[in-house]
């Protein structure tokens, strides 16, 4: 492939230290693909300070006669003068506002779409940036019958121009060499310098592109195919059908494939915990390592398969160009509630788990829309709520499976409805400003890059582990400690029961029953005496109007770690054993739970109240951690917690009191 580096002084001495390169370009120009091709696995993602916009940095090691490079991947921007968070970040980095200004600006342009892409290059030149222009997707341009004269373009701009195909790596070696030499190079003056003011930039770009582009070939045939596909994929009926089929397939793959590594992770950490208990002497340190640390790490790592797989699949889909069309299909429905069409993927993902759901809001271009989606995503009924729903609907409708099924479906509906109403409410209060009417570039349909998807999945997984993951481990350990300490002596009745079980003449069945009763008493005493139990008793009056006693309040508190912990807490309190599966024995034991005054814990009105509470409440500290990270602010995590908890309390209160007033026990 011919390169056009003659305009720079290739003989000038390279900079010995790492060259700092800012990578910038319009969205859909293959910028991420080029970044991945340059930096590979040596990249990390972090939020730009104080914003929800992520920024990636990577290092390219010295090779092929070129020195090391530090590459900053700036957000995709169309126009440096546009007032948007992404543009402000790009301008800040280019001006050196957040550290050292880049030595070189690598602007990537789509060879199929030169006139519009050259506007950004012109703006950068007008700002005096030292530019290298990567002319990407020259293969696709060729298929469209477009030939770009890179030599002439380089001469007219006065900057090196490197034709390449980032997806296949074609042209990367030349680019490395050019980037290495660019800081010390002096090129000829541009023969067609851009206008100093933005007025006339588009006309300048048009004229420049026309002067270096030779057209002819099957471009119109490709356009016709694109138009046919667009008509189908954005059609009110067929577009929706295609969307449901594609999303159905995506989530089927996600659920089917993620379950295997998740089960493996859980089993491995369970084995590890057992091994620690076997190897270490009994005591507080062993409990901390086996249950606190190993359990905490397991509770974090178990999210990884879903996060990595989701980002892998979404990146593949995004690369094809389909997601922009899908956003329009859903925008018709979601915009009525102040949410953008892009919000559908995060909201659907949140049905698996709110964590990847919130992380996938990075797809949403507008910061306000992204924030609105983050705030309402946890209303979606995630998989951690399933055991809670199963338990409470079974308690509610013991002999009526159809009614239990309807109540189960109603939980999903209530969660979705709460999300939409909340989005509408927030849109007129804390997130003022309506969702913008959608304006999106519809990128060319392309074959996705597997390598790109793999690197993105890896990158997002590491980002999760290094930021939210560490906090989640700490939270798990603290919650375990609150539930396990202080240790209390078992009641005297426990020793009596065990003595009775070991007495001569007691049948094995009787001994087992006595032992089980002792275990329940011991566990209840341990739970009640723990910090979590004591806090539960203190807070019980706040939950009494919802029909909860102190035991249910403890269940609510411990399930802040993860909602499914509610089932194991209740099974500990009811049966003396932590059960996560809702089997008949667990349901029977929990149904038999009594309050201190002997009345049952779960009446129909209490179970219904608890069900509504768990549908609406923000019972997930890891989610709050991710919200804080993604929004760059504790404020929004606090709003999420306060609003969801308040709404859950009010809804459960109204239901409980209403049912009682209607005569339901």
């Amino acid at each position: 492939m011919p390169s056009a580096v003659e305009s720079s002084d290739a003989a000038s001495s390279p900079v010995a230290a790492g060259v700092r390169v800012a990578l910038i370009g319009n969205p859909n120009t293959g910028k991420t693909t080029l970044f991945n091709a340059l930096c590979g696995a040596r990249a990390k993602t972090s939020n730009f300070p104080g914003t929800t916009t992520s920024i990636r940095t990577g290092r390219v090691e010295a090779a092929d006669g070129a020195g090391p490079l530090e590459v900053v991947d700036l957000p995709g921007v169309y126009d440096l003068d546009l007032d948007s968070p992404e543009t402000r970040i790009a301008r800040s980095v280019l001006d050196g506002g957040r550290g050292t200004a880049p030595d070189v600006v690598l602007v990537i342009v789509d060879a199929c779409n030169l006139p519009r892409n050259l506007v950004l290059a012109g703006q950068l030149l007008a700002r005096g940036a030292r530019l290298v222009l990567a002319l990407n997707m020259v293969d696709l341009a060729g298929k469209r019958g477009l030939t770009i004269d890179a030599h002439t373009l380089a001469a007219r701009l006065g900057v090196p121009v490197v034709p390449l195909v980032a997806r296949t790596g074609q042209g990367l070696t030349v680019l490395r060499r050019v980037l290495d030499q660019a800081p010390g190079a002096t090129g000829p003056a541009a023969s067609e310098a851009p206008p100093a003011h933005d007025n006339g930039m588009a006309a300048w770009a048009d004229a420049l592109a026309a002067g270096v582009t030779m057209a002819g070939g099957p471009g119109h045939a490709l356009d016709a195919r694109t138009e046919q596909l667009d008509r189908l994929l954005t059609h009110p009926v067929w577009g929706l059908a295609a969307f449901m089929a594609i999303m159905g397939a995506l989530f089927w793959v996600l659920f089917a494939l993620a379950t295997v590594p998740m089960d493996l992770i859980e089993a491995t950490f369970a084995e590890l915990g057992t091994l620690v208990e076997r190897l270490m002497p009994a005591g507080a340190l062993r409990d901390l390592v086996a249950q606190g640390i190993v359990g905490g790490i397991a509770g974090t790592v178990v999210f990884l398969p879903q996060i990595c797989l989701l980002f892998f699949l979404i990146t593949l889909l995004e690369d094809t160009g389909y997601l922009a069309r899908a956003a329009f299909v859903m925008d018709r429905w979601l915009s009525r509630f102040g949410l953008p069409g892009h919000a559908f993927v995060p909201l659907l993902t949140a049905h698996a788990c709110a964590l990847p759901g919130i992380m996938s809001t990075r797809l949403i271009p507008d910061a306000r829309d992204r924030l609105a989606t983050i705030l309402v995503a946890p209303f979606m009924s995630c998989s951690a709520r399933l055991p809670v729903y199963v338990l409470l609907t079974t308690l509610l409708f013991a002999d009526r499976p159809a009614a239990a099924g309807l109540a189960f479906a109603g939980c999903y509906l209530l969660g979705g409805l709460a999300a939409l109403v909340t989005a509408k409410l927030f849109g007129s209060t804390i997130l003022k400003g309506r969702a913008r009417p959608m304006i999106l570039e519809l990128p060319t349909y392309k074959t996705p890059s597997l390598r790109n998807a793999l690197l993105t999945a890896r990158d997002q997984g590491l980002s999760f582990l290094s930021t939210a993951g560490t906090v989640i481990v700490a939270i798990c350990i603290v919650m375990w400690w609150l539930s396990a300490y202080p240790k209390v002596d078992p009641p005297a009745r426990v020793a009596e029961l065990r003595a009775a079980a070991g007495a001569p003449g007691v049948s094995p069945e009787q001994a087992e029953a006595l032992g089980a009763e002792a275990a329940v008493l011991e566990s209840r005493a341990a739970q009640a005496g723990s910090f979590a139990g004591r806090i539960g008793k203190v807070l019980a009056p706040a939950f009494a109007p919802l029909g909860f006693d102190w035991q249910l309040t403890v269940g609510v508190l411990t399930s802040f770690l993860a909602r499914e912990v509610f089932v194991s807490t209740m099974s500990v309190l009811a049966a003396g054993q932590a059960e996560t599966d809702v089997n008949d024995g667990v349901v029977a034991a929990i149904r038999g739970m009594t309050r201190d005054d002997g009345r049952p814990v779960f009446t129909p009105s209490t179970a219904a109240s608890a069900l509504v509470f768990f549908v609406l409440a923000m019972q997930c500290l890891p989610t709050l951690t991710v919200t804080r990270k993604e929004t760059g602010s504790v404020k929004y995590a606090a709003i999420q917690l306060g609003y969801m908890s308040g709404l859950a309390w009010v809804a459960a209160f109204l239901l409980y009191q209403g049912l009682r007033a209607a005569g339901v026990a």
Partner: protein
């Protein structure tokens, strides 16, 4: 959502029609964007003053092509674009 189009008659300027009145496949020259909020975004995508565009699809989304860029517009935005039919398709 409040209407984005001012109440003045869009077709008061001779030859100027709403984008949505142009037949699919026709070429037109952009005359005016009557939505100040969307104007900068449209400009950044290449929908600049007097640019030539081709209407690819009407409805929601409305799809236009400017040079090689295909742009999807929600119907609310499309209703704010006023064009003069005709022009040289520059793609």
């Amino acid at each position: 959502m409040p209407p984005l189009i001012p109440s003045s008659d869009a077709a008061s300027v001779p030859g100027v029609v709403p984008l949505t009145a142009v037949p699919v496949g026709a070429v037109a020259t952009l005359h005016e964007v009557r939505d100040a909020e969307s104007r900068p975004v449209l400009k950044s995508l290449g929908l600049t003053d007097a640019c030539v565009l081709r209407l690819c699809k009407v409805g929601d989304p409305c799809i236009v092509q400017v040079r090689s860029t295909r742009i999807g517009l929600s119907s609310a935005v499309a209703r704010c674009l006023f064009v003069v039919p005709g022009g040289t398709d520059g793609k």
